[in-house]
Structures are given as structure tokens and as C-alpha cells.
């Protein structure tokens, strides 16, 4: 019922506006086109300035309402993020000044040079000086931004420091799986055809398989696998080795100001150094429910919007305590082997010392 009522009201408004517009056209014809044009010109000229003034007030007001909700209002939570923020501020400075200057010019010129009787227009078709001026000034300013940007880009995409914590992140519809290399500091090999969602969500190779030509990889035996939540250490670089099990996802870390796609078949990497623990961020943001969220930022299907992960940033001691509690994923698949834990550990540690720590993660 309300629906029909709303429709009727809208229709009525339409008819009224339309009739007014038609009437104004008759008036225009009666008054003569010239006269009418002068009048509408005045109105629109005034509206140009009104739009400019209201628009600039609107920009200020919008900023007042929402700036505190953006990430720029709080410190970036990673050393990479600091640089992103600085980059944004510089770019905002350059584009902001240009924005205000050109918008003012546009609307003021439109207002000032609205049609007037007796005005002779200035036949001005070309000026090499002006054209060179506004080719070179933007070019110089942009060069600055490019240099500044590429310097940061080189840093963001550089090799992670050697002491970085390595974590493998795998996206799947619709959640995140994290893997830590365990005591041997080496990720075991995996192969997607041995994935079993119930017991081997990443397809770790821990069984020989003649069909698939696979050999049990002992490095996989101590790998720790968790879902949903990931732990990293404040002040310690953290390298993510990112992949996907099905479609393309994206590891979006807005507080750290970074993101990287998770592509099936092609591992990607990203590293960052967290600056604040989750607890500290609760104070900084004033939000007791604060958490570092991993948002999927690449359309991945109908559950895309719910593909959430959580990063908990803790101190080294808390991290060690957490890690000590984690059981290798191997034992959840082979509970019968759990008693043999000690023996297996010994051999693995021995091999680990000679092993080259490489991105063997997603290689099969």
C-alpha cells in the first residue's frame, strides 16, 4: 500500500515539474527568446557561484564528519604503512591545491563571463607560452611524485629481511588458512591434488603416492596450520607467502596499508613490520573491539563479503607462548604418530640446519 502511495506521490511530483517546465517554455516564447536567454543566463550564472561555494563548504563539512573515520586519522600500524600515509599526504597536497584552484577558476570564469550585451569576446586561439607552461609544470610536479612513489614501491616490494617470520597464507572460498613452517623453519612441500578439506586442507605431501609421483616430505610433518586467525610479532618483520586454493583472492591489510592478490598456481609475497600490538591499537583507536582484519579485496564469489581473517599482533614472549601450544597439523591427520613426536623432531632439526630456507612453500 505504502508502495503505491509513494509511487503516486512521485508521479504527481513528476507531473507538476513537467507542467511548470512547459509553462515556462510558453512564457519564454511570449517574452521572446533573447529576453528569456538573458534571464536564464543570470540564474545559471548565479547557480555556478552558489554551487562552488556550497560545494567547497560541503567538502569541508564532509571532511569534518568523516576524516576521523579514515585511517589517515590514526598512525599506520606498520613501517610500510607510514610511508604509504606520507605518500598520500604529499599527493593530497599537490592534488588538493590543484583541485581547489581549478574548480574555483572553472566556476568563477563561468560566472564572470556569462553573456552580457556589448561584451566583445577576446579572440584568443593559441599561446605557446601558456601551453608550454601547463605542460611543463604538471610534468615537473608529477616527476617528483613518481620518484617519491617508486622509492617507496621499491621498498615495499624488496626482499624481506632474513629474520622475518614466514607465514604462508592461502585463500579459499571463503576463508583464510595460515601455515607456519614449524621448528625446522622450512615449509613442507604441498600439492593441490592431495587436498582433503577435512584432514589436509593445504594438500601437504606427507604420504608417498605412486599415482601422483609424490614422496613424503618430512619438512611438512611439523608445519602448523591454523584457520581464521594469524599471530605475528610487534616490531619483527613478517613475510607472507600468499596463494589460493581456488579462485583469486586478495589479502587486504588496511591498517598495515598493504594488499596482495592470492592467485592459484602463482605464489606471491609481501612483507611488513607491525608497529603496534592489537592491545595497543585498542587504545590508539579508542575502540575496545579493535582487531586487525584481513579483508578479501578481490571478487571471489557469493561469499566474498564474509571472507574475513584476523591478525593478532603480540609481543615476542606472547608469540612464543602461543607457538609452543600449537600442534603440528601432521598429528591431526595421523594421530597414531603423535607419540613418535620426539624422534621425528630430532631428525628434522638435524636436516633443518643444513637446509636452505627458500620459498619452497608452494612448489611441488
Amino acid at each position: 500500500m505504502t508502495m503505491y502511495l509513494t509511487l503516486a506521490v512521485i508521479l504527481l511530483v513528476f507531473v507538476v515539474i513537467f507542467q511548470i517546465a512547459k509553462a515556462s517554455e510558453y512564457v519564454a516564447v511570449l517574452k521572446g527568446e533573447e529576453q528569456n536567454r538573458k534571464q536564464t543566463n543570470k540564474i545559471n550564472g548565479f547557480l555556478m557561484v552558489a554551487f562552488l561555494v556550497l560545494g567547497l563548504i560541503g567538502v569541508w563539512y564532509c571532511n569534518k564528519l568523516y576524516f576521523s573515520k579514515t585511517l589517515l586519522s590514526i598512525d599506520a600500524a606498520s613501517i610500510q604503512g607510514e610511508k604509504v600515509d606520507l605518500m598520500i599526504w604529499w599527493t593530497l597536497g599537490v592534488t588538493g591545491v590543484t583541485f581547489i584552484a581549478t574548480q574555483i577558476m572553472l566556476f568563477v570564469l563561468a560566472f564572470k563571463y556569462q553573456e552580457k550585451e556589448n561584451r566583445k569576446v577576446y579572440f584568443f586561439a593559441h599561446s605557446t607560452f601558456l601551453e608550454v607552461l601547463w605542460t611543463s609544470v604538471p610534468a615537473i610536479v608529477l616527476t617528483g611524485l613518481i620518484v617519491f612513489g617508486l622509492k617507496n614501491w621499491a621498498f615495499f616490494t624488496s626482499e624481506a629481511p632474513k629474520d622475518a617470520i614466514q607465514i604462508e597464507v592461502t585463500g579459499k572460498q571463503f576463508g583464510w588458512i595460515f601455515r607456519y613452517p614449524g621448528k625446522d623453519a622450512t615449509f613442507g612441500k604441498k600439492y593441490f591434488k592431495v587436498i582433503d578439506p577435512a584432514s589436509n586442507s593445504l594438500g601437504l605431501i606427507w604420504k608417498d603416492s605412486a599415482d601422483l609421483n609424490l614422496k613424503d616430505d618430512p619438512f611438512s610433518h611439523d608445519d602448523i596450520v591454523t584457520e581464521g586467525t594469524m599471530y605475528v610479532v610487534k616490531g619483527k618483520p613478517c613475510k607472507l607467502i600468499i596463494g589460493s586454493r581456488d579462485v583469486i583472492h586478495d589479502v587486504g591489510l588496511s591498517q598495515f596499508r598493504l594488499k596482495m592478490d592470492a592467485v592459484p598456481g602463482i605464489p606471491t609475497t609481501m612483507w611488513f613490520t607491525p608497529k603496534y600490538t592489537t592491545e595497543e591499537m585498542k587504545t590508539i583507536t579508542g575502540n575496545p573491539n579493535f582487531q586487525y582484519e584481513i579483508s578479501c579485496d578481490q571478487m571471489c564469489g557469493n561469499g566474498h563479503y564474509s571472507m574475513k581473517g584476523v591478525i593478532v599482533v603480540v609481543s615476542q614472549e606472547e608469540y612464543n607462548a602461543w607457538l609452543a601450544k600449537q600442534k603440528p597439523y601432521y598429528f591431526s591427520a595421523f594421530p597414531e604418530k603423535a607419540p613418535a613426536e620426539k624422534a621425528a623432531d630430532a631428525t628434522i632439526t638435524a636436516t633443518a640446519t643444513t637446509a636452505v630456507i627458500a620459498d619452497s612453500a608452494a612448489k611441488k
Binding site: 598520500i88 579572440f123 599561446s127 594488499k259 609475497t269 579485496d297 571478487m299 564474509s306
Partner: protein, 599 residues
């Protein structure tokens, strides 16, 4: 079917209707027409239908974003199972978002914009009787029409239309098992897009051939109006880049249906198991897609730039400032358009060095863009501006182009994009600079050339209302989205309530949704004005209502097939002699006077 035949039939044309047209049946005049003007109108009206559908889709998904907790029972009446209990389902939400993007980008702002104005303006402004190949031109429209029919039919299949985003990235788009929308709906989507590519190639080749070969006597390339230059560059971009998209789609069809692994590797789908594919690259598709996708942005934008240049100059009663710089900057944009595609892929794991090169080339585009903006501003300076509705939309275009162009400098720099990629900041950026700005260009074009199309005037008051509400609305909708993006809010989310970082924008989302509905209503007012004016608008009394210099206004008020009843006018000057030597305007077909000054 060659233009020779067209020339002969129209040479003896006189008055509003020539002999030829008297014999034309309804079908050959209005449906399978080979007259470029009629084909232009077909493109325009089909484009409008798609614009209404695409716009309506955005109203539906904005309802979900603005009112995630409210049930609208009438939505279930309209959408059935896609809005169970009055809530749009995630499946339907993603299908709406995807179709909105596809339809607006391709059907409205490519076919609707280029198809309309390239067809209508190229022959009339260069002084040709018709396109180089009127038959191909007709085919171009009918392929577009077919593409539309197939796209529309995809909305009625059991598993729903394609829902993986307009960019159709595999593996999501390749695997029916990963998303119901990637089943039959995706097959139809690809077929529709393939037909669309054929349409735009047939059109584009024709536009290029016409501009190069069929200019009237005296119409050298450097005397072309900027509209024609813009439409010419647009056609070149389309012809060079659409085939690449097409090849990308062919590979996608193979992966979907014939078991190849161009884009697929190492995939395990929940509930299905591991797929046999190995060795493909999902990123390959993105390269092929964006090799079209980025030029596509300029395919959409350049026609609007051309028309805006023309309209700003005409209504400022002053020559366009820096004509050669305008052509040069469009050329630079057209070249650079092919060299920046990977800036959409900074966070795909692209080689960082390659990323650096694309940063450089991307930000380089800001230079020709800046030249254009300053030249437009200088065109207004010391002019004598008439605020016709077309002029208002042209000024609005410049404002939006500035606002959206500047945020391009943010996103083009990979070290900012790494944070803002795929957030609402991106939505704000491309909607302002490409979506709304080009739409403004299209509106400007419609208001300006409506009298030439139909021999009648549109209602100005409605035009003014249309402009001011749309202008304010565009900023109210998209400006605040920058702030959402700066908070990291991702795009393509159905619901933000589980996200501690993003749910704070609930109120703002609602505000945006309300403005969307109002702005959509005002577009309906525009349509009312358009269709009412076709039938009952004020009849045109002057052949040249805007006192414009270009050739189309030398044709009769109702030009027949062949455009000029007698000889085609000869051209003696460029199109921008406004206010020269104290004269209000000097059309292109007026010979240079003895005492005329040089510029």
C-alpha cells in the same frame, strides 16, 4: 550498398524528403536503415534503454547497501527468488553489480555514446553523405542489438546471470562450480560480449574509413572539429584493442568448455575436488582484459572530451584554446592508453620493476589531461557564455574530469594503490572521471544535437533541473566514497556488518543510497523531456539554433538520406572562428575574406 549508390540516390534530394525516401518502407527506414542518422538514433535509444536498466540495477543494490536490515516486500514481487523475504540475496547482489558494470561500460558508454555520436556527427561534420559503408554500419547496430538480447536473456536463466564482476577474472569466471553465476549465465555473457566486440569493430572501421576518405573539399585534417578528432581516435583505440579482449574471451571459452588450461592451475574447488588443470596463468587473462580495459576508459572518455570542446567553444562564443594542443593531447592520450594497462594489476604479484614502468607511464597521462583542462578553462576566459543545458553539462564535465582525474594521480602511483586498490576510493575515482563525466558528455551531446536530430527543441527548464540535480547528486554520491576508501572499505561487499573496520559507515551508505534514488528519478525526468520533445517539442525555426560554425548546421532542418539536398558545402576554414574580427561567428563554409585577419 556502397556509398556510391547512396550518393546517387540522394543527389537529387530536395527539401526535407527526397524521392528515395518516399519509396522506403517502414522497415527500411526505421529498422534496417542504412542512413547514418537513423542508425545513430537507434544506438541512442537502445543505449538509453540499457542506461535505465543499468541505473535501476544500481538502485537495487544501493538499497541493499543502504538498508541491509530492512525488508522490502515489493522487491520480492519484482525479483522473485532473488529477493527472498524482501532482501536481495548475495547471488542477486553480485549479479546486479556485475551487470550494472558491464552494461554501463559497454552498452551505454561505448555503444550508446560512440555509436550515437560517431554515426550522427562524423558524416555531418566532415561533409559526407553517409558512412563509408552504410551496410556495415547497419550491421554494427544489429550486432549490438543482438548482444543486448543475449545479455538480457542471461538474466532469466535458472542459475542467474554472471556475477563475478564486470572484469570477469578467471578462475571465478571459468568455473561454474565456484559460483552459480559462472554457469549458463557466463556462457551467455561471453556470447553477448563477443557479439558486442563484432559490433564495435564494424562501427570503428567504418568511422576510421569515413574520416580518412570522405571529407568534403577543403576539410583538411587540421580543420576537423574536435568532436571528429575525438571520435576518430576513439575508433582507432577500439579497433586495436577490442580484438585482444576477444582473444581473451576465446581462451576463456576453451577453458570453460573444452578442458584447456590457459588460465587455470592448481585449483581445488570446495565440494568438487581438485581439477585436472595445471600450468595455466590466471594473470594472463588480466593482461588481455586490461589491454582492452584501459583503452576502453578512453574509448568512453574521448568522445565526451570532443563534444565538450565543441560545446564549450560554441557557447563561449570564442575559439577553442590551443586547437593543435587539444588534438596533440588526445593523440598522446590515445598512445599512452595502450601502455598503462598493468596499473590495474599492481597487486597481482606483477614484477615490481614492470610495475614501476607502468607507474611512470600512467602518471604521464596526467600531462595531456592537464593540458586539456587548462585549455578548456582558457576557452571560457573572456568569452561571452550562453548557459544552454548542453553548456552546463559541458562545464559539469570539466569539473568532474578535474575531480576524478586528480584521484587518478593517487591510484596510478603503485605505492598508494597498494593500500587503496579495490576500495571505495577506486569506485569514487572511476565513477567520477569515467562514468559520470562521460555521461555528462553524452547529455551535453544530446541537448546540443537534439535539434539536429529531430528538428525540435528540448525543454530548457527541465534541462536545467536535470543538470543541477545530477551535478549536485554526482558529488554527493561519490565524494564521500573517497573517505570510505581511505578507511580501506573494500568494494563488491554485500554486507559490512561483520567488519569492525567498515561497519561505521552504515549511516553514510544510507545517505548515498537515498541520493542515488533521487538522481535516478531525475534521469527519468530527462527521458520524459527527450521523448516528449521528439513528438511535441517546439519546432526548430532556425537552421542553426546555436549559431555554430560546424557543417551539420548548414544541412536542412530535416536532412534527408544524403544530408545536403544540393552540393556538399565546401570548407574554407577551421571550425572555431567565433568572435573573430568582431563577428559573432563565421561558419566553416564561408570563404576567407580579403580583409580577414590571420590567427
Amino acid at each position: 550498398m556502397s556509398h556510391e549508390a547512396t550518393l546517387h540516390t540522394s543527389h537529387d534530394a530536395h527539401g526535407h524528403h527526397d524521392h528515395h525516401e518516399h519509396h522506403q518502407s517502414f522497415i527500411s527506414k526505421y529498422i534496417f536503415s542504412m542512413d547514418h542518422k537513423m542508425i545513430a538514433k537507434q544506438f541512442l535509444i537502445t543505449g538509453m534503454i540499457w542506461a535505465v536498466l543499468g541505473g535501476l540495477m544500481s538502485v537495487f543494490f544501493r538499497l541493499q547497501l543502504g538498508y541491509p536490515d530492512t525488508s522490502f516486500p515489493w522487491l520480492e514481487d519484482i525479483l522473485g527468488k532473488w529477493a527472498k523475504g524482501g532482501h536481495i540475496t548475495p547471488e542477486a547482489y553480485y549479479a546486479l553489480v556485475t551487470t550494472h558494470g558491464t552494461v554501463l561500460v559497454f552498452f551505454v558508454l561505448t555503444a550508446g555514446l560512440s555509436g550515437t555520436f560517431a554515426n550522427f556527427l562524423i558524416p555531418l561534420q566532415i561533409g559526407a553523405r553517409d558512412m563509408a559503408s552504410p551496410f556495415m554500419n547497419m550491421l554494427s547496430y544489429w550486432f549490438f542489438f543482438l548482444a543486448g538480447v543475449v545479455m538480457l536473456s542471461s538474466m532469466f536463466v535458472e542459475t542467474g546471470p554472471f556475477s563475478g564482476g564486470w572484469t570477469a577474472y578467471p578462475p571465478l569466471s571459468a568455473l561454474g562450480s565456484a559460483s552459480p553465476g559462472s554457469k549458463t549465465g557466463m556462457d551467455l555473457w561471453i556470447v553477448a560480449m563477443a557479439l558486442f566486440v563484432v559490433s564495435s569493430l564494424l562501427g570503428g572501421l567504418n568511422y576510421i574509413a569515413t574520416v580518412l576518405n570522405m571529407r568534403t573539399k577543403g576539410m583538411s585534417m587540421t580543420r576537423l572539429p574536435l568532436t571528429v578528432w575525438a571520435l576518430f581516435f576513439t575508433a582507432v583505440l577500439g579497433v586495436l584493442s577490442f580484438p585482444v579482449l576477444f582473444s581473451g574471451f576465446i581462451l576463456l571459452i576453451f577453458d570453460r568448455n573444452f578442458g584447456t588450461s590457459f588460465y587455470l592451475s592448481d585449483i581445488f574447488v570446495n565440494g568438487v575436488g581438485a581439477l585436472p588443470n595445471e600450468g595455466g596463468s590466471a594473470i594472463l587473462f588480466q593482461h588481455l582484459f586490461w589491454f582492452l580495459g584501459h583503452p576502453e576508459v578512453y574509448i568512453i572518455l574521448l568522445p565526451a572530451m570532443g563534444m565538450v570542446s565543441e560545446i564549450l567553444s560554441t557557447n563561449s562564443r570564442k575559439p577553442i584554446f590551443g586547437y593543435m594542443a587539444m588534438v596533440g593531447s588526445m593523440f598522446a592520450i590515445a598512445v599512452l592508453a595502450f601502455l598503462v594497462w598493468a596499473h590495474h594489476m599492481f597487486v597481482t604479484g606483477l614484477n615490481p620493476f614492470l610495475g614501476s614502468i607502468f607507474v611512470l607511464l600512467t602518471l604521464l597521462i596526467a600531462v595531456p589531461s592537464a593540458i586539456k583542462v587548462f585549455n578548456w578553462l582558457t576557452t571560457l576566459w573572456k568569452g561571452n557564455i550562453r548557459f544552454t543545458p548542453a553548456m552546463l553539462f559541458a562545464i559539469g564535465f570539466v569539473s568532474l574530469f578535474i575531480s576524478g582525474g586528480l584521484t587518478g594521480i593517487w591510484l596510478g602511483n603503485s605505492s598508494i594503490d597498494i593500500h587503496l586498490h579495490d576500495t571505495y576510493f577506486v569506485i569514487a575515482h572511476f565513477h567520477i572521471v569515467m562514468g559520470v563525466a562521460s555521461m555528462f558528455g553524452m547529455f551535453a551531446g544530446i541537448y546540443h544535437w537534439f535539434p539536429k536530430m529531430y528538428g525540435r527543441q528540448m525543454n530548457n527548464t527541465l534541462g536545467y533541473i536535470h543538470f543541477w540535480v545530477t551535478m549536485a547528486g554526482a558529488y554527493l554520491i561519490f565524494w564521500p566514497m573517497h573517505y570510505e576508501g581511505l578507511a580501506g572499505m573494500p568494494r563488491r561487499y554485500y554486507d559490512y556488518s561483520i567488519w569492525e573496520s567498515f561497519k561505521q559507515f552504515e549511516g553514510l551508505n544510507r545517505f548515498i543510497s537515498i541520493v542515488v534514488i533521487i538522481v535516478f528519478m531525475v534521469q527519468l525526468l530527462f527521458l520524459l523531456n527527450f521523448f516528449y520533445s521528439i513528438i511535441k517539442g517546439r519546432k526548430l525555426t532556425k537552421q542553426n539554433p546555436w549559431e555554430s560554425n560546424t557543417l551539420e548546421w548548414t544541412a536542412p532542418i530535416h536532412p534527408g538520406h544524403g544530408n545536403w539536398p544540393g552540393e556538399i558545402p565546401e570548407v574554407y576554414r577551421w571550425a572555431y572562428d567565433y568572435g573573430k574580427d568582431g563577428k559573432e561567428f563565421i561558419p566553416q563554409n564561408v570563404p576567407i575574406g580579403d580583409d580577414e585577419s590571420h590567427h
